[in-house]
Symmetry: C2
Subunit: 91 residues, 2 copies
Amino acid sequence: MEIIGLVAGFCTTASFVPQVVRTWRTRSVADISLRMYLLLCLGVSLWLVYGALVGSVAVLLANSVTLVLAASVLGMKLAFGRKKPAPPPRR
Amino acid sequence: MEIIGLVAGFCTTASFVPQVVRTWRTRSVADISLRMYLLLCLGVSLWLVYGALVGSVAVLLANSVTLVLAASVLGMKLAFGRKKPAPPPRR
């Protein structure tokens, strides 16, 4: 039964890898929600606190990897989101 | 201690709401990774199976809401991703 939980955790954590790769390659972040990744990083950080408090290695492991991935997307959203082309001058 | 887990689960699940709202409003999905949401929906579905097997209402509740939200983004990615402007005819 626990194997299903392990595979589930692997999938939900690994799911952020293709987003990190795509965003790194395209440098395009317009369609990505800043609020989603802010809230996600907060939630995953709280999961880490919870995992430490209850002493769950599985919760700590899965969420530390997820935090690195989610924080990467958040960082790229902040970094690449700024670089907008300057609007043409009005005359 | 459990309150931290509950708040963590609320944050990670609710984090998908702003992405659903943004994608619904903009209809723009180019920067969203299809593979991420495919893998995420698979993983969250497996969490539901796991929750049912171990009889955890918390796991079932959090993941059923997350599945609805993640599947919404996946559905919009598939639906809106197709509508590309036709390329100009070659002569």
